[in-house]
């Protein structure tokens, strides 16, 4: 299901990019992306619109910006590393205004189901509030908790748990902007 969402976003993102002739709107000045090159597709500097090396793409956001922050056991406060990631997310969202986002909060399996739903809500909210504090409009952000229902890693030790205690910023193509 999450895959479907991402694919849809990629498609819309690619269309939005190729239709745009204003490089500043997509921040091309700061990250070296030549907006007009989008028309040339892969032939122009090897940048494929919508791919991970297209800085306006959701996959770039996922991989280069970093779509997730991690939390210590039973905590929802943001680490310095998490804040740095969220700073990058906020900057990216400030320039890529065609996207809205849902912040998903997750917990590891060491906890009861309903407590973990509440803990996931805390984590999602912590990331969401931080993004808002860095200038992202609240109207562009939603949050949802998955508790321990959607682990990323499946082993039952700290190496997996550390990756599962996360808040993931999932992009959606917005209607406005």
């Amino acid at each position: 299901m999450a895959h479907l969402v991402i694919k849809a976003v990629l498609l819309v993102g690619a269309l939005a990019v190729s239709a745009c002739t204003n490089p500043d709107k997509y921040g091309s000045g700061s990250n070296g992306y030549d907006g007009s090159g989008a028309n040339g597709g892969a032939g122009a500097g090897g940048i494929v619109p919508g791919s991970a090396n297209d800085p306006t793409s959701a996959s770039y956001f996922q991989t280069a910006v970093g779509d997730r922050v991690l939390f210590p056991v039973d905590q929802s406060s943001l680490t310095a590393e998490a804040r740095a990631t969220l700073d990058s997310q906020a900057a990216w969202l400030a320039t890529n205004t065609a996207y809205n986002a849902t912040v998903e909060g997750h917990a590891d399996e060491q906890g009861t189901r309903e407590y973990n739903l509440a803990l996931g809500a805390r984590r999602a909210n912590a990331a969401q509030e931080y993004l808002i504090s860095r200038g992202v409009a609240g109207s562009r952000l939603k949050s949802v908790t998955y508790g321990k229902e959607r682990p990323l890693e499946v082993c039952s030790d700290e190496t997996c748990y550390a990756k599962n205690r996360r808040a993931v910023t999932l992009l959606q193509a917005g209607l406005g902007s």
Binding site: E114, Y115, L117, A118, R150, S156
Partner: protein, 443 residues
């Protein structure tokens, strides 16, 4: 659909003859006191119920096996196999040859007969005998129902036998609603399912298109509350078990709701709502306006009503870790009742009102436990990598819960244990299963 009718008139004569001191049997020697001490299961014999017509013979055999399995499954009874029997029961009304049953050490004897009437209804009658007192324990009873309900008839007989011998209510004619799971751990598919308490007759209530969690029965067992991600966000729903009609119970933008339970009136619910990252407990009449019961920056969830509806037990991390609290059903000040080491969650008030069952996490292990409502006499019943989510049998004597195994291939399963910590066993389900909720005794 069912009737439960005493054979008093038919049996009065037999009682008068065989039981010169009838009142003695109420307090007679055939009695299991369910205590914490180690008990020896009570040996009983249940010769195959007599078919009163040829078409009843398979039903008679099946019903007998279900009754025996119910009783033996409690851990309180031990069946003496039929090949050890000396006497044969050839007629439901023939006198019992007590010495033959004493000789094989049967302390209780259950006899019965099954008939199928012209309109296809099944009738079951049974008698329970206290072998060492040479007499019946209680009156003979007859019950009837459709052929499709033969398992329920068997469970009702077993409930009667259990109740007469233990002095406690039975729990066999009951159902369990749970979450049936499928797929790998990082892409688990979940759907609601319902079955008899012993795992028979599984039916699926939802498909696996959205995550469903933690169902709970209404006080009469006709409806189920649960949490679903059908909208993409966790929200609480109610389903009628009879026609699986669903109704979303909350409709608030930006809020996530979960952990719904019925109040004892069946019209009030209590649940958690997460808003702006903070989770509090709310109540409402179904279709009415929400009323907030807790208001702290802490996580407050997993509420459960006392059987009389006056109080609510819940978990909160307001002290820094998950602990159990009790407050008035109208909200207000709460008193903490859990003070042991570790974290306490998912409190569930016993239907008898005397105990709170809970999940405890301590030093990397999970336990199901019980404590009195003032927090005293804490007793841990289980220990494993991950046990959680206790649900009470209708008689408050047995607890069903989720046990999940560790690792990448870890799977949840349903287990039950009695409140003395004995008789821990897996409840059969077709596949991985979690979040069991036990119904009340069916009408």
């Amino acid at each position: 659909m069912m009737f439960l009718r005493s054979l008093v008139s038919a049996l009065a004569l037999a009682l008068a003859i065989a039981v010169p001191a009838a009142p003695a049997f109420a307090q007679g020697p055939l009695r299991i006191e369910i205590t914490e001490g180690v008990i020896e299961p009570l040996p009983f014999a249940i010769p195959q119920f007599l078919p009163e017509s040829s078409e009843a013979s398979k039903l008679a055999a099946d019903i007998t096996r279900v009754i025996a399995a119910d009783l033996q499954g409690t851990g309180l009874f031990r069946e003496i196999p039929a090949d050890a029997h000396i006497s044969r029961i050839t007629s439901f009304d023939a006198p019992v040859s007590y010495p033959d049953w004493k000789a094989i050490n049967a302390q209780a004897l259950v006899t019965g007969a099954v008939s199928v009437s012209g309109d296809g209804r099944v009738n079951v009658k049974f008698r329970l005998f206290d072998v060492y007192s040479n007499g019946p324990l209680g009156e003979g009873l007859q019950m009837g129902g459709s052929q499709g309900s033969w398992r329920r008839l068997a469970h009702k007989v077993a409930d009667q036998v259990y109740a007469r011998i233990t002095g406690e209510g039975g729990y066999f004619d009951s159902r369990v609603v749970f979450v049936s799971e499928d797929g790998p751990k990082n892409n688990r598919q979940k759907r609601l399912a319902i079955m008899d308490y012993d795992g028979a007759g599984v039916q699926y209530l939802t498909d696996s298109s959205s995550i469903v969690l933690a169902p709970r029965f209404s006080p009469t067992g006709d409806r189920v509350l649960y949490t679903s991600y059908a909208t993409g966000f966790p929200e609480i729903y109610m389903m009628r078990v009879g026609d699986v009609r669903q109704q979303k119970l909350t409709d608030q933008q930006g809020a996530m709701t979960f952990a719904p339970r019925f109040g004892p009136d069946g019209a009030t619910i209590v649940y958690s709502e997460a808003r702006g990252g903070n989770t509090d407990i709310f109540t409402k009449q179904i279709g009415g306006r929400a009323q907030q019961l807790t208001n702290t920056p802490a996580i407050e969830t997993a509420p459960s009503y006392a059987p009389d509806g006056s109080q609510i037990v819940f978990e909160s991390d307001r002290s820094g870790t998950q602990q159990l609290y009790i407050m008035s059903a109208r909200g207000g000040e709460a008193r903490r009742i859990s003070f042991g080491e570790g974290r306490y969650g998912t409190p569930v008030w016993s239907p008898r009102g005397d105990l709170i069952a809970f999940t405890k996490q301590n030093q990397g292990r999970f336990h199901i436990g019980v404590m009195r409502t003032d927090g005293s006499e804490e007793r841990l019943l289980t220990a494993s990598f991950l046990d959680e989510g206790p649900s009470w049998a209708p008689n408050g004597r047995v607890i069903m819960f989720t046990r999940q195994s560790a690792g990448a291939g870890g799977q949840p399963a349903l287990y039950s244990v009695d409140i003395t910590g004995r008789n821990l066993k897996r409840v059969p389900t077709p596949g991985p299963a979690s979040d069991p909720a036990w119904s009340p005794l069916l009408p």
